[in-house]
């Protein structure tokens, strides 16, 4: 892990390496979707700049430093950065654009309370050079508050009330960060992202500069929407499913716009982006297919559930729960996920991973019959059982937590099913330091 060594030997090295990039750097951070947003932004900017970036998941300060060592010939750095590592990385890179996508409750045993993280991000924004562009999701009240009063902000959001609903159980940021009064929500799109206003101090969601409207979700296949940019409009067809990926696309569109991309470049970059490492990725296994949907926190998992139900609830489902440091050692979050909508169509649930029994209990206490649950802690065993229940030509849906996904990838590679992209990505990750391990 050269980045970690570099940071230890020469703490100023990252700043000097970043200064070699003549077009500067851009950073994307968020609890959910930063890997996908970064891939989309890279696709948007690739025709315009020679890019340097960190591979999927190597998003701690060491991973960014490693990536900076390999920037020869690159003009612009584009980095996805872990939400807790953001202060350090932003200080070193002094990015010309910073995109903040969302802030959800995630791994409280590792990140601490959400409010502390928001406080640190407030510090990052305060230290951001005045000439840098701040790109924020205006549907997240915490981020809208961070941007409040600052010049040079690009705000993005969703404008399609047909896709809004009530605030879910797992919603964070229910209370105004300025005055402490509970926000009043007209509707919520994903977690606490939505149309809010504060009855206490009057703070409310403002009109975004870049937004998506007329959104059509196409089950597990993708979505289409109209992208509104200042003075331009583009039709976009995403190959990634769910409203959460519309948010990821908006983050990429807004960041791309901030860095000078034109509407047609933005649209074609978004349309060309395929699934990134386990985020609604499909893998062929003989005549059958595997659909991998990473889950890691209540809001992300809720969106996966919503997307699965919209695409027709699968009859067989594998969910794998590990409790490594990268997954969160505290597995209580699964009780805050609304798995219930799956119960109407699901016939067989295969729970796997180190905490398989805990997952089984989550479903048992949601009144799902124990006789329909297989508890198979081994990932390989769970995969076999799932495939056995999948018809020829059918698709098996697997929702693993982070380290369960890595294990599954190993199982697939051993069996010769993982495609080259995965093997490349895995090598890149090993070279540059593991994604979500401790620093």
């Amino acid at each position: 892990m050269p980045g970690r060594v570099l940071n230890a030997l020469d703490p100023g090295a990252s700043s000097r390496l970043a200064a070699r990039l003549e077009q500067g750097s851009a950073i994307i951070s968020a609890t959910n979707g930063k890997t996908t947003s970064a891939a989309m932004t890279a696709a948007i900017l690739a025709p315009r700049f020679r890019l340097a970036g960190n591979p999927a998941g190597a998003n701690l300060s060491s991973g960014v430093s490693t990536a900076l060592l390999h920037t020869r010939g690159a003009e612009l750095g584009l980095f996805e950065v872990d939400e807790a590592a953001l202060p350090r990385v932003a200080e070193a890179l002094r990015p010309r654009a910073l995109c903040l996508g969302n802030l959800f409750r995630d791994q409280l045993d590792r990140y601490g309370e959400l409010e502390l993280l928001a406080e640190r991000w407030r510090g990052v924004v305060a230290e951001l050079p005045a000439e840098s562009t701040l790109v924020v999701n205006v549907d997240d009240p915490q981020l809208a508050q961070l941007a409040y009063g600052r010049e040079g902000v690009i705000r993005f959001g969703i404008e399609d009330r047909r896709h809004g609903g009530p605030l879910p159980h797992a919603a964070d940021a229910r209370y105004c960060s300025a005055c402490g009064v509970a926000y009043s929500y007209r509707l919520a799109y994903v977690g606490h992202l939505g149309e809010y206003s504060c009855p206490g101090c009057g703070f409310e969601r403002s009109q975004p500069d870049i937004w998506a409207e007329e959104i059509e979700l196409d089950g597990l296949t993708g979505s289409s929407f109209r992208l509104r940019l200042p003075e331009r409009t583009a039709s976009v067809r995403l190959r990634l499913p769910g409203l959460y990926n519309v948010y990821n696309a908006l983050a990429a569109a807004a960041l791309g716009y901030a860095l000078g991309a034109q509407a047609d470049e933005i649209a074609s970059g978004l349309e060309s982006t395929r699934a990134v490492f386990g985020r609604s990725e499909r893998i062929e296994i003989g005549e059958k297919k595997l659909l991998l949907l990473l889950i890691k926190n209540p809001t992300g998992a809720n969106e996966v559930v919503r997307t699965l139900v919209a695409g027709g609830t699968p009859k067989t489902l594998v969910i794998a729960l590990n409790d490594g440091i990268a997954d969160g050692q505290d597995v209580s979050w699964i009780w805050d996920v609304d798995f219930e909508p799956l119960l109407y169509g699901l016939e067989r649930l295969i729970v796997s991973g180190g905490r398989a029994a805990e997952l089984a209990l989550r479903f048992k206490y949601a009144s799902f019959s124990e006789s329909q649950i297989d508890v198979i802690p081994s990932l390989a065993g769970a995969l076999d059982r799932g495939l056995e229940l999948t018809k020829e030509g059918g698709e098996l849906v697997v929702c693993p937590t982070y380290t369960a996904m890595l294990e599954l990838q190993k199982v697939l590679a051993e069996r010769g099913y993982a495609d080259l992209y995965w093997q490349r990505a895995a090598r890149a990750r090993e070279e540059s330091g593991h994604a979500r391990g401790p620093e």
């Binding site: 409010e115 050692q329 699964i334 089984a360």
Partner: protein, 251 residues
């Protein structure tokens, strides 16, 4: 007529960070499978605790949410103590546990008043105590039970001299990391740092609390018929293994 257990869930909108609804789901399912009804009444800031309450539940929250409800809870001491005297059982987890004590002093010395229902007080420490925990407790004389969970707290809780803990720490930190005590037990009231959530993997604790609540409703504590707890045992065993391997390290 079906016997109905009345649960008052205090501050469900603010104290819900560690999957507290999992604990409520366990109360509900384990009551209903035995033919009892469970009625859960949410009690928010400024609302009165319902009369004729069999079980009181308080969960945990982030600092911000706890600060929002603390003044209201501090005014409820007498109301809660009266419900306990009237025979109600109580379970308070994490933040709810701390705030049932006399108070919480943060690192700047600022004191947040508690409800004063449980004989304890809490002082903020330097580092958070995070990890898997296992404790041994005796809810009934000579019946030693193992309870497992996950703790994540910055506060050090000290019990008053003579006050009873919920149990003794086997792996993990517990109340303060050095007394060896975890939680507090006052009659039918239990406070603890253990979440995870607590009850799915410790069904015997859920049943003990339900039996106490039913005791108030029926006039005597009933013998609850056993349920198939195979999955619960499995989850308990895994959590116990984690507490052994990695409980109680400062991070």
């Amino acid at each position: 007529m079906t016997t109905r257990i009345r649960v008052c869930h205090l501050y469900p909108d603010q104290l819900n960070i560690y999957a507290d609804r999992g604990n409520i789901a366990v109360f509900r399912s384990r009551s209903e499978r035995r033919g009892y009804e469970l009625e859960v009444l949410g009690v928010g800031v400024g609302e009165v605790l319902a009369r004729d309450c069999d079980l009181i539940y308080l969960g945990g929250g982030q600092d911000r949410e706890q600060a929002l409800i603390a003044p209201d809870l501090a005014r409820r001491g007498e109301e809660i103590s009266m419900a306990l005297e009237d025979g109600a059982a109580l379970l308070a987890v994490c933040g709810g546990y701390q705030l049932l004590g006399r108070g919480y002093r943060d690192r700047t010395g600022v004191e947040m008043l508690g409800a004063g229902v449980l004989p304890l007080e809490t002082v903020a420490g330097d580092r958070r105590m995070i990890g898997d925990v296992s404790i041994e407790c005796e809810l009934e004389p000579d019946e030693m039970l193992t309870v497992v969970g996950f703790e994540n707290h910055g506060g050090r809780t000290r019990l008053d001299p003579g006050a009873a803990p919920l149990g003794r720490v086997v792996h993990g930190f517990g109340n303060d990391g050095d007394s060896g005590f975890e939680g507090c037990r006052l009659g039918k009231a239990i406070g603890t740092y253990l979440h995870g959530p607590l009850l799915p993997r410790n069904p015997w604790l859920a049943d003990w609390l339900l039996a106490q609540a039913l005791g108030r409703r029926l006039g005597e504590v009933p013998e609850l018929e056993p349920l198939d707890d195979e999955l619960e045992y499995q989850a308990h065993a895994v959590a116990l293994g984690r507490a052994r391997e990695r409980g109680g390290k400062f991070r």
